[in-house]
Structure formats: structure tokens, C-alpha cells
């Protein structure tokens, strides 16, 4: 039980439960069938977007092009089906491949050139968004096959659980396994912790960086496809609003931006917190402008808290080392 308390995510879980109950006390509709469904739908793609950023944070970098990749894949996915009559599974496959290729581009250039991922992904953000706009000329693709639309709307039997969330849950689980139980995952954390130490142990920088970015691109692509299922059309501005939440969730979940420390479960809880807050703002008719301020303050607080913990850990380590 004591170990449970110490886990990063335990505190977050309490926050989620408490805030959920608090809101429900004031507005019972919050826990209604339909509202839970709506919350889970938002969580579904937010989760994947957060994980796409999280894995890059793990290696101590940032991926500004997450939204741009998502948008590009979203329109490619819908465009292929509408214009070229490509079947759904093949379109999904092509979409995911596009995402991975975008990720590969990011990772390769970052790894080989040694330039900060921030500026590389800033450039590719414009490149991918540019391709997106160039192809669509800002017009959405409306004709999505019925199967896709149904997938976006369906629920599991009589529960409020949407089909949409099944895949993200599976992916979250796989990411947890990847980061905690596989060699590559642990290499990434080591690399994020200290590039020099990692290289000394024999970890290949390029492999780590490229793999991380490819996974990030894959996840961004998945999120883009899910959003198309949900919105029932493919519009070029999918992904425009992803930047802030993609950082907010992992950071709230305890991630250190310098790298080396991320927690999949905590990130997932971070997503829940962001989603609940966004909804609460609508429910309580709080000025929508307030959302921006809120997210910004949350990020700052989360970062400060993380920094403080880092600092304490450093201090503890120094004490132990000096003995």
C-alpha cells in the first residue's frame, strides 16, 4: 500500500476522482451516460496525442509537428477514400505509413544533423501543414464511408464506452510495456537522462532518436485518423489545436522536459485532467477565454512542481553520494 502512495500517478488519480466527484455534486449530469461517453471520446484521441509528445519528451526533445502530422494524415486518409475510392483498411495503413515517414524525417534530420529537434520540427510543422493546405486548398473532404462514420459513433453495447477509446487504451498499454519493459524503451529513457552516458554504454543515438520520432509520427497519425472517424469528415485544420494539450498532459503527468523521466499512466491521468477541466469550463459557463490562461498556469505549475521534485532528488542524491 505504501508503494502505491509513492507512485507518481497516485496523486493524480486522487485529483481526477475528487474533481470528478466535485463537479458531479454540483452538476449531476456530469456522470450521466451521455456525458461519460463525451468525456471518453475526447480522451480517446487526446491520449494518443499526449503519448506522441511524451515519447519525444522522454528522449529530451520536443515535437512541434505532432498536430501537423495528424492533420496531414487526416486529410490523406479521407482524401484517399473519397477521391481514389481506396478501401478503409488500406487507407488506414497508408495513413499510418505517412505518419511514420513524417516521423522518420523528423528523427533522421535531428539525429544526423545534431540540430535541436525544436527547430527541425518547427520547420517540418510548416512543411507538413503546407503539404496539407496545398493538397486540400483548405477544403475538407466530406465523403467518408459509412463504416468509418459508424465507427466514430458506435458504443460498446449499452455502456457509455465508445468504440473510439478501445484502440487508445490498447495503445496506452503497449506504450507502457514499451517504455518499462523493453530494451529500446529503457534506452530511450537513458538517452533522455544523459546523452553522453547513454553513448558510453553503447546505445546508438541515431537509433533511439529515429525510433522515438517514428513512433511519435505513428501515434500522431493514429490520432488524426480517429479524429476523422469522430468528426465524420477530413478537414485540413485537424491538429491545429494539439500543441498545448500535447505538452500539458505529459507535464502534468510528471514528465521532465530535459528528458529521461516520463510516466505513461501519469500522462494518461494528465489527459483526463485536461479533458475534465475543458468540459468543466463549458459546464460552468466560464469564459472560454479562461481555458487558455488555465492551461498555461497548469503547465507552469506542473513544471515548477516537477522542478522542485528534481531539485529535491538531486539534493538527496548528493547527500547519499557524499556519505
Amino acid at each position: 500500500m505504501a508503494t502505491l502512495f509513492k507512485k507518481d500517478w497516485f496523486g493524480l488519480l486522487i485529483v481526477v476522482i475528487v474533481s470528478g466527484l466535485a463537479i458531479a455534486a454540483v452538476k449531476p449530469a456530469f456522470l450521466s451516460h451521455f456525458n461519460l461517453y463525451v468525456l471518453m471520446v475526447s480522451t480517446s484521441y487526446m491520449l494518443i496525442i499526449a503519448l506522441a509528445q511524451m515519447i519525444i519528451i522522454a528522449i529530451g526533445q520536443m515535437n512541434l509537428s505532432v498536430g501537423a502530422i495528424g492533420g496531414l494524415v487526416a486529410i490523406s486518409f479521407s482524401g484517399l477514400m473519397e477521391v481514389h475510392q481506396i478501401s478503409v483498411p488500406v487507407a488506414v495503413l497508408i495513413g499510418l505509413v505517412i505518419g511514420m515517414m513524417c516521423g522518420f524525417l523528423n528523427g533522421y534530420i535531428t539525429a544526423k544533423s545534431g540540430i535541436s529537434a525544436f527547430i527541425i520540427t518547427l520547420a517540418t510543422l510548416y512543411i507538413f501543414k503546407g503539404i496539407n493546405l496545398g493538397i486540400t486548398e483548405a477544403e475538407p473532404f466530406y465523403n467518408i464511408p459509412e463504416t468509418v462514420k459508424n465507427f466514430g459513433n458506435a458504443k460498446l453495447g449499452n455502456t457509455p464506452i465508445p468504440f473510439l477509446i478501445v484502440i487508445p487504451i490498447i495503445i496506452t498499454f503497449l506504450m507502457w510495456v514499451f517504455m518499462n519493459r523493453t530494451e529500446t524503451g529503457r534506452h530511450m529513457l537513458a538517452y533522455g537522462n544523459s546523452v553522453q552516458s547513454a553513448e558510453l554504454i553503447g546505445i546508438s543515438s541515431s537509433k533511439v532518436v529515429i525510433t522515438a520520432h517514428v513512433i511519435s509520427g505513428f501515434l500522431a497519425a493514429t490520432a488524426g485518423i480517429l479524429v476523422v472517424c469522430r468528426l465524420q469528415l477530413g478537414t485540413p485544420n485537424i491538429g491545429d489545436s494539439w500543441l498545448l494539450p500535447s505538452f500539458a498532459a505529459p507535464v502534468i503527468g510528471g514528465a521532465i522536459l530535459a528528458g529521461g523521466k516520463v510516466d505513461v499512466i501519469a500522462t494518461a491521468l494528465g489527459v483526463l485532467i485536461v479533458v475534465i477541466i475543458s468540459q468543466a469550463l463549458v459546464i460552468f459557463k466560464i469564459d472560454p477565454f479562461f481555458v487558455q490562461i488555465f492551461l498555461g498556469v497548469m503547465i507552469l505549475l506542473a513544471v515548477l512542481v516537477n522542478r522542485y521534485r528534481e531539485y529535491k532528488q538531486e539534493a538527496l542524491r548528493k547527500i547519499f553520494n557524499s556519505e
Binding site: L122, I127, K129, L133, F247, I293
Partner: protein
Amino acid sequence: MNKKIPNFIFTNQFGLLCLVLIFIVIFSTVTDGFTSRFNIFALSRVIAIDIMIGLAMMVVILTGGLNLALGAIGVCAAMFGGWCMEVLEIPIIPSIFLMLGMGSFLGWINGFITVKTGVHSFIVTLATMSIYFGFMTMLTEAEAFRRLPELFTDFGSAKLFNKYISPLLLVSVATCFVLFYVFRFTDIGRKLIAAGANPEAAELSGISVNTMFIYCHILSGFLGALAAILLTTRIGAAIPSMAGQLGMDWLLPAFLAPVIGGTLLSGGKLSVFGTMLGAVLVTLLTNGLYLLDVGEFWIRFFLGIILLLAVLLDRTREYFTLKNVIVS
């Protein structure tokens, strides 16, 4: 050996100048309308604003950091100024000072938080970007200030030199000269550069690196507010969406100009005139692409590619310079 390095640096700005001239020639001959009075005037205004935005980011890049909140600071300063001029009816000159003060203040907050917490300026400014923008939107309720003093807005449409150039450009170029002087010839300027180039060494030689970094952020906010003033006179109103959602529209020009101009992202090296030429080059290219009927939608794509090429080129140049140093 020492002769090689000055030549190389010289090459960067000189190279840019050559590129600018080459493109001017190409576009003048290939398109019609590039050299028209209307077009050159329009260009002069966009260049003026982009130069200022580039300079504002440049001084933060000097510290090895980033200022994502630049656009947000700009909009806040502009809206604050609009409020002063329209609602409080404060005359133009004091209002301008107030706007610059607001920008500097917001920049100071960024610098202070960055330095005191040790958190990277990327995340600090990512957070402050939304906080500043959110407060601004909340306080103004997203309403623009549209009845600004005529003298102020006329400045934005004024035409000099036989209607070819906007006075905005003169303001920006003058700022370039001032900054160049400060960084090259004043004590504080050299300290700022030293702090960015090698913080540990600077600290050892008695420079308070933290203070220097805060100064950089303040300066960034100041220049951002100045850019916003120019943009407001151009538009003729103080509009909350002038820099896009959360001020993000300024990010591309803010990075492109300094990076193309030779300012290193790792900090410690900047080039004022490089930034100026970088802004000119990017604006020229964008304008040329529009005129060549490339399709408005592909412009972003090209800008992204240009940024990528610019950083890669920068890196290669760094690599070769280093090689030369070691080899010789």
C-alpha cells in the same frame, strides 16, 4: 588561419545580400508587378515588421533560449496601447511609451521565471504565451480598438520617397543600427554576448549571467511591443487576432530571420544585419512566390523548407569552420 574565419562570417551576410539581389533581379524580370510602386510599398511594410519580430527573437536566441510568447506579448502591448489611446484618451507619444513598457514588463516576467526556476525558456514561454493571450482576450472580450487617433494610423499608410517606401521600414532599419552599435561597441552589449556564448566563463569573469539573461528577455519584450506598434499602425486598429491564435503566427518569421541571418540557436552569436537581410529575403521570396502564381497554399510549405535548409546550412557552415580551426 585567422584570415579564414573573418572571411567566413563576412560571407554569411554577404551571401545573403547576394541572394537578395539575385532574387530581386529574377522576380523583376519574370513577373510583372514586382517592381510596381504598390508592391514595393507593400513589401517595405511587411519587411519592416518582420525585421522587428526577427530582432525580438534574436536577442533571446542569444541566451540559448527561445521566446514563444513573442506574439502574445506583441498583442498584449498593442491592445494595451489601444485601450490607452481610445478609452483613456492618453496622447500618442505617452501611449507608445506605455506600450513599450508593457512589452518590457511581460518580457521581464519571462526572464525572471526562466532564470529563477532554471526551467528552459521554451516551456516557460509556452506557458506564458497562453497566460498572456488568455488574459488579454478575457480583459478585452476579444473586441478590437478601432478608433485610434488618426495621426497614429496615418503613419502606417504614409508613403515616402516618391511613394515607394513606408516610414515603418525606416524605424526598423534605425533599430538595426542601434542594436548593432549596442552589441558591437558597448560594454553591456559585449556582456550580453559573453553571457550567451559561455555562461560559466562569463560568470567567472564577474558577469552576472542571470541578470544578463533577464535583460535579453526584457529587450525581447520591448522589441516585440515595437513590432506590434508598427503592425497596429499598418492595420489601423488594435485587433486581438493580429498575431494569430496565441500569437503563434509570429513564430515563423521570428525564427527564420535570425537563423538565416547567422544567429546560432545554441546562443552566444548573433548578427543584427544578418537578421535584417534574412527578413528581407524571406519576404521577397514569399512575395515572389505569390506573384509567380505558385498557389497561396504552398507558401507555408516553401517557408518550412527554407527554414530547414537554413538551419542545415548553418550547421554545415559551423562544421566547416570548426574543421578549419582544428586543422589549421
